[in-house]
Symmetry: D2
Subunit: 261 residues, 4 copies
């Protein structure tokens, strides 16, 4: 059979990224304690295509990913990206994963444990330098209580669910658990899957004592990220699903970390 | 050209609904005051198919909808459904529309006006009886404050954005504005696109004075719907995007209205 | 602390369903061979609420689901629903799950195996009769090739990705694999995650030899469902993401199975 | 009432973007012929926040957008951004809009006209230089037919719906219609809302004569964009919803235009 993809292309246009996306695939992710967690990832896999080739053999992406038992940790990603560079004989390979990740959290007073979902993302890239470039991202749903509403109202204060998206480039491994911890500390209160009444009372009062604008939350996250010298660059995006409006409040900070080593 | 759709089918299976869906189409909707409002609808159009025909001519749905200048009101829907029955020579025609609809609401204290979006749906059906069957539905985003959290906490109370979906079958025209009004009256507080600080204070205090479970809100909507004798049947679905959890609280009531005439 | 939910309600309105939804939770599902498969479910849990109670204790839903190690099979669901009825002292309990489910399929010619995702749903209900009512649903992505386009064109035929949603009530266990098999047999061709060139040739030619309207596919699924006497009721929904339009073609059949025992 | 937002902040952290997003708002857009088209936009509005302010007055974004009758054209955006800079006394203002836009297209043979939806985006920014920075983006749904499948199969070829996202920075006004035209010329065939049988035959045969990989389509778009000296920078993203897989094929090119003036 003719190999149409390998035909010579004369348009003289290299392609930055070519591949497959939105592939659903079962993977396992190692948690901080080294224990594997089964989950389902949405996977994107791309390579660069030199100007003289017409196309890519898309089925090879599936062959690569199938060859590797994804136990998500830094070395594993490196091996997949190397395999992609070799299989496609290309300069740069990209692997992006998005997946739900669960942490079993204890409620603050009753101490009952329940699983809480966080959507995590990893973007890994390997170029000519053979040095792994890694972006780690996590969406942390949080509780936020409005300082203005509290201040001006005789009683109560509007509050709402929000989400903090933290994205970092690091020189060493940063665990999802660490970023989630930073986000939850910077919110009016963390969320839990299971709260008994004594916990609900605790969280309600904690949030009322701890009002935060999106601006406050973003700055508090940044203050904590700045103290971590493994982190080279970060972006922080805080979105509040305002409970008094049908639109959202939003704050965004993006920066290189001056304290990075 | 051969007409494949009109081939005789021998599987002896009539089809309940066949047609097109997720068609995006600009329409205008008449508001309560008779003024047209431009919007964009997602449209589904279906007919029944007798067992002896193999297929439907899908392009005719677009021809029908294009023939009618959609100025959404009861008579307009009737004409489209009749045209569908005639064009497809079928027993039953279905027309479903979903669209954003805006109401210009005044903030409670500052009285500044701003547009607020509500997602509306209409499901219209015309069968052999030639009597229009109409379901009207609207999603109303609202503010809800938790009675339990207020009661047990020394200060504050968790609150959140929620959405009430009201769905009715009526003997006479019921306006979206009427259903929206019922939903907003049954919430801890309504939402607004624009609130100045004096308005935010008002809404925060109003909600704190007016705590509602999803169960309360659903029952209050139902109490108001029961009083309207044009309404033959209703369903009410209240969903709160809980600000202390990452899942939702939910209540659902569905019933025939005993007071209907 | 005061138990607000247990207050007496005087509105005299029972609530059909009250509970939590969109809870993300790790579960395992037993496949046809009895092997457990780890996945992540979206879970809804509802109970009825008698007219004289004001509210439900939402945290108890999480306690119930946490008590049961979900190994999805009929007996497991039964136990959770019984536990809900007991915990909430209610008449009717509802449990709904939606989750990705993977089948390792061999490519038709190369015989290389790859995992293919199917979105599955289970709706289970237990009422006063203590008899489990179970609805099984699966979304099967398929390939469809248009008979009209093939017939009228000198070469080629438009084809596209589509999805078949099969929903059944059965007297005995029906496996997802069985419904998926029925859907894939009724399409122009099944989909695969990995196809080498010899497989791509095979699927392309298979589909061209096997053109199907949405109407054809729906009827073929129904013909196969009718032959299964475990199936009491079904609905079949076929949606084609038309490759020559930006809207979809759609067919729907819903019926009680006359051959059911 | 106390102005909490204007409190002095001591964390010494300026914020890149703060504001509101996902605001639904009715707007009108001028088409190429200068005729206004009514549509509904999702709007994001952000400003930068100096390190010494604690927060932003979110309601002022709604006041700004309400003051301007959005008739989307370059001058209009400029005025809104200037108003934002003045209202918030900030350095940089951002306005992002996403909206459905309709073009009435004639079917290729029957010449019957029907409206076709394209999702358009505009990102406008005004900084200290007072020079409007504008990114124009459009999603164009298209038909693509696989060259490999055609070549290796005895009959037929798999084809599918795809979407081309073109994003440009330009020195002068570039119309959505121009980018849509470039995308549709680079596909195997354009899509239409209404096609009669003679049109369906035409499009089927056109696509079969015109097979394109995602790589081909991306390069053809780029070749046309390179010829337009108003365009300073572009990115082109082609995604095919593969009809033989449940994942997508993808190509991406991003570049400064060497021919720009």
């Amino acid at each position: 059979m003719k190999d149409v993809q390998s035909e010579r292309d004369t348009r003289n246009l290299p392609i930055n990224k070519v591949g497959i996306n939105q592939l659903s695939f079962p993977i396992s992710v190692l948690d901080r304690s080294g224990k594997p967690q089964h989950t389902i990832a949405r996977i994107n896999m791309y390579v660069d295509l030199p100007h003289h080739y017409r196309g890519t053999h898309m089925s090879r992406f599936i062959e690569v990913i199938s060859r590797h038992n994804i136990n998500l940790k830094q070395e594993g990603l490196d091996q997949i990206l190397k395999d992609m560079r070799k299989t496609f004989n290309c300069e740069t390979s990209h692997l992006e994963l998005e997946f739900p990740y669960f942490i079993y959290k204890k409620a603050p007073v009753s101490k009952i444990e329940s699983p809480m979902e966080y959507i995590c993302r990893v973007e890994a890239k390997l170029g000519k330098s053979e040095k792994l470039e890694l972006i780690i991202e996590v969406d942390v749903p949080v509780h936020s209580l409005c300082p203005c509403s509290k201040e001006i109202s005789s009683e109560g204060a509007h509050n709402q669910r929000g989400v903090m998206k933290i994205r970092v480039i690091a020189s060493k491994m940063v665990w999802f658990e660490e970023l989630i911890d930073i986000a939850e500390k910077s919110a009016s209160a963390p969320l839990f899957t299971l709260l008994k009444r004594e916990d609900e009372k605790y969280i309600t009062e904690m949030a009322y004592q701890n009002p935060r604008f999106v601006e406050d939350a973003a700055r508090d996250v940044v203050t904590l990220l700045n103290q971590d010298n493994r982190i080279l660059w970060y972006s922080v995006e805080v979105t509040n699903f305002e409970s008094i409006h049908n639109h959202n409040a939003y704050a965004y900070i993006e920066k290189e970390n001056k304290n990075a080593r």
